[in-house]
């Protein structure tokens, strides 16, 4: 029975999803507040269960579901980001013909997929979790069904996603053929035993899977869906999509690519390829963002670039840095999209540079928040974004990847250019348009405030969190 506890957080989320959907289907209320409430309660419950599971090393289904500290941390992140997204959507959804109840259900289903992904050490389960996540994400992307951009984004996401999914399947097949086992741990162990070097076929099979995961976390050149989808999706959903699937994908990558004691090392070719992809991602993401006129799309590209930074952590084998970065990234990115969501009026979203002009005067708090999020994204101290980058890049250097770190900081420089451009618009240009903010939106403002708090707190005193993450990795190794 204790091991059955391993299933509890997942069950909480799934039952929340079901409850939300049932309320949506049968209560016939206009605003679906009940669904949202159910969803939030279930998320809180899940959060509570996650915290309770800390340190217990619960495992179930022969280890296919294992609540190691890393998984728990990530689950907590997912619960948190889902809560943020829900709060952001409370006002946002009804004003844009989005069915909040369905949104809640899909969001929670996506979260359950994410939880499955990060808490398993079996490729098949990871794949299924990924598919749950994907299917829910496609629907979330297109959930603003009257909006052409939203459905276009959904179609593109779906088409590319299923294409990538096929690669995953084929990779699974080859991996299975090579090792006869689909556990993550076995992927890179050779036929001669756990310590031997992996066979070419298993590396190749893993490569196919890595490609599919790269697609999910938007690594260049598998990233091209991302800007369109992030732009087309409703803003809270974008916040979710830029953070959660990326986190899950990266953690899976980290689990498989980072050698554990007593297991064969990752082939250097694979790591080099990943490093090259990281560099490409950082540069392409940042360069492409330079000339964007729409801040939402700009942040979409920035999200791609951040995948590159995060990949550096994977290359450097710095799990602590990776998770810390992910958490920080969650706060700053969710915060940034939160502000964008706050700026949207009824119907059209107002996320163009011209819309932001003069914001510093009209809505000083919103503008200041966005500025801080952007500075954090740019990695400027003393925000959390800087600290996160510091850990990752310094780990890369400590592992001898000096050039990778140089590339990363140069890419950050390009990034700084466009983040600052947004600030230019907000503070240094005068408004040409009327302010677009409509009513008060306390839930959204709460999210923004929490994110702000996170960004500042983690930049200055991340102590407990870092300790926690380090503990998680000590347990892992």
């Amino acid at each position: 029975m204790t091991t059955f506890m391993a299933l509890a957080p997942l069950l909480a989320v799934v039952s929340g999803a079901l409850a939300a959907l049932l309320f949506e289907a049968f209560l016939k209320r206009k605003d679906h507040g009940v669904s949202a409430m159910a969803a939030i309660i279930s998320l809180f419950t899940a959060g509570f269960l996650i915290v309770r599971s800390w340190g217990l090393e619960l495992a179930y289904f022969g280890g296919r579901l294992a609540l190691d500290p890393l998984a728990l941390l990530l689950m907590a992140v997912f619960v948190l980001i889902a809560t943020f997204v829900l709060l952001m959507s409370l006002e946002y959804a009804p004003r844009r013909d989005i069915n909040l109840g369905q949104l809640c259900g899909l969001l929670l289903l996506a979260v359950s997929g994410l939880m499955i992904m990060v808490s398993s050490t079996d490729w098949l389960v990871v794949f299924l979790g990924l598919e749950v996540l994907s299917v829910a994400s496609y629907a979330l992307t297109g959930i603003r069904r009257n909006d052409w951009a939203s459905s276009e984004a959904a179609a593109k996401y779906f088409l590319m996603g299923s294409f990538a999914g096929a690669f995953f399947v084929f990779g699974l097949a080859i991996l299975f053929g090579a090792t006869g086992d689909l556990s993550l741990a076995a992927s890179l162990s050779g036929p001669g035993g756990p310590a031997g070097s992996p066979s070419l076929a298993s590396v190749f099979g893993l490569g196919l899977i890595v490609v599919a995961l790269f697609f999910k976390i938007a690594i260049v050149p598998f990233h091209m869906w991302a800007p369109d989808v992030y732009q087309g999706a409703p803003t809270p959903v974008t916040a979710f999509l830029t953070i959660a699937p990326k986190a899950a994908g990266l953690v899976v990558l980290f689990r498989v690519l980072t050698p554990l004691p007593g297991r064969g090392g990752t082939p250097s070719l694979l790591m080099q390829a990943v490093a090259v992809a990281a560099v490409l991602t950082m540069f392409v993401g940042n360069l492409a963002a330079l000339r964007q006129k729409d801040v939402k799309r700009l942040l979409a590209y920035s999200a791609i670039a951040h995948s590159g930074y995060l990949l550096v952590a994977v290359v450097a084998g710095d799990g602590t840095g990776l998770v810390f970065y992910l958490i920080v990234y969650m706060f700053m990115n969710a915060g940034a999209f939160g502000v964008l969501a706050a700026l949207s009026g009824r119907g059209e979203e107002h996320t163009w540079f011209a819309d932001l002009a003069g914001l510093g005067r009209q809505h000083p708090w919103l503008a200041a928040s966005l500025a801080i999020f952007l500075l954090s994204l740019a990695g400027i101290p003393p925000t959390a974004g800087f600290l996160a980058k510091f850990y990752i890049f310094s780990a890369a250097v400590a592992q001898g990847h000096v050039l990778l770190a140089v590339a990363a900081v140069l890419a950050s420089l390009i990034a700084a250019a466009y983040y600052l451009k947004v600030i230019v618009a907000m503070y240094m240009q005068d408004a040409e348009l009327e302010p677009v903010l409509d009513r008060e939106n306390p839930a959204l403002h709460l999210v923004i405030f929490l994110c702000l708090f996170g960004v500042v707190q983690l930049g200055l005193w991340p102590g407990n969190l870092l300790t926690l993450i380090r503990q998680a990795f000590i347990a892992l190794f």
């Binding site: 593109k156 590319m160 990538a164 196919l208 869906w225 392409v284 492409a288 330079l290 390009i414």
Partner: protein
Amino acid sequence: MAELFWLIPLIPGASALLLVLFGAKLSRRWVAWQACSAVFLSFLLSAVAFVHLVRLPPGAPGLTKTLLAWISSGPFASSIAFAFDHLTAVMALVVTGVGLLIHVYSTAYMAEDRSYARYFAHLNLFTFFMLVLVMASDLVLMFVGWEGVGLCSYLLIGFWFERPAAAKAGMKAFVVNRVGDAAFIIGILFLLDNLGGSSFAAINEAAASGLLSSGLVTLVAILLFIGATGKSAQIPLYVWLPDAMEGPTPVSALIHAATMVTAGVYMVCRLSGLYAASIPASTVVAWIGAATALFAATLALVQNDIKKVLAYSTISQIGYMFIGCGVGAYAAGMFHLVTHAFFKSLLFLAAGSVIHALAGEQDMRRMGGLRKHLPVTFPVFLVGALAISGIPFLSGFFSKDAILTGAFAGGQYALWGAGLLGTVLTAFYMFRLVYMMFYGKERTAMEPGHSIHESPRAMTIPLVILAAFSVLAGYIGLPVFFGEKADLFGRYLASSVKSGSPHIAVSTEGLLVLLATVSALLGIALAFVFYRRTPALPSRLASRFPGIYRLLVGKYYIDEVYDAVVVRPLVRGAEKVYERFDLKVIDGALNKSAAAAGLAGKGLNFLQSGLVRDYALAFLIGAITFLGFLLL
């Protein structure tokens, strides 16, 4: 009392400070009194200190006082310390004495000016810095005074800053001086580096004892002398002094004739040990002096602005002083410095009186016959002119003679000849001035109702005093002719200044004196012929030798040459470099790299075509490459 000698510079300094801070609120009377009495007090103190010094037994050290350990860092140390020895005493007395007279003179001369307090503040400040310069016990502190007087010169030349010419002249003076100062600093650096300090005593001693290599001595001496050519308006840095006449005339008298411009001479005398130790450097000094003396004298021949004539004359006379220094007759150089201070300030002040009388007119072609109108000014001017021309028994005669004798005695016959020729020219241009100003027809273009009148007493009394000194000052340094001990001045200075020139036979000296007298008279006679008897002669001569005339009037086009060779290429070049390099290359590279990033972004945005097939293509290419890489 003499121990308080360190107050000598500080009193005018304090007065200057007060005037700067509160001048605008003080009454003119008070300003005048304060400024004058400050200088007077300094003068009194200088006199007391001088008397103290004279009473000391021979060989006893002068007065010294360290006020403040100023800059000290590792091996570099310089303190604010004053010294008062025989040489200093001479300068201090001249500075405060002549300075006092000029202060008094100015109370009347500047009476009408709006910025009365500012003027006296600057004048006091100048006195302060000049006294710092002469009382400094090391080279670094001397440099403070050196730069300080330069600053005051700048301020006073540009006193009427609304006049563009004045503003320009002030700036020119400062910048040209700075060129010399740069060399001066390098010279100081050499000394500091090799001696660990820059006190004069140490330098002179090190040079004399051979502690410094001869090459280094020469190098340092020449570097410092370059500084002196700036301050003392010698070739090649003399160009600022004629322009400096834009300042008020008393300023010209004090700064640009009597005191500041002679700082270079003082410096060379102060470091006579150093210069004496280097024959090449001394030769350079002497020849620059001689060249300047002649060169400036020729320019003075054709100037029509009375102050400009006097300015070139000053340049020329300082050249004489340098000849003296260069041939080792340092005392003679100092002697000429002193006498020159008297008669040249006399001439300037008298010219100022004339200008004052003519309501600002400075062009001698519009003067004439002023003899009658200016009963005091005319005689004193005449005395000054006679003194500078070297007419026997006036001060200029003795001092110039001392220099020429020194040159002759040192075997530098060419220098002596140049000096003699200069005497002719000097006498000629001075009497050209006298004749054109005071004799002949009245050519003044005065407005009706404005009559020419003699200046007030505050102006004439200093003139008379200066005239008296111009006559008498020569007797402190009589030539050997009058006996072995007649050269009081030389003997007095012997303890501070290297005495060099060998004595020559009395008969030879007599001959030299005679020749000098004759050449002075010749100059006067020529001037009489040209400007009194046949006034048409100059213009005829000018049309006969148009080239020479134009060259002289154009001041040998040295200003133009400097402009064309140094200033303009520098400025134009800098402009070009700014546009072509700074903006285009450096900044351009930056902007280009930013644009390149933008372009790359544009390219990527183009690739992001919105078409799923393109996305899939990128995916496929990426996957194939990635996987192919793994298969390698």
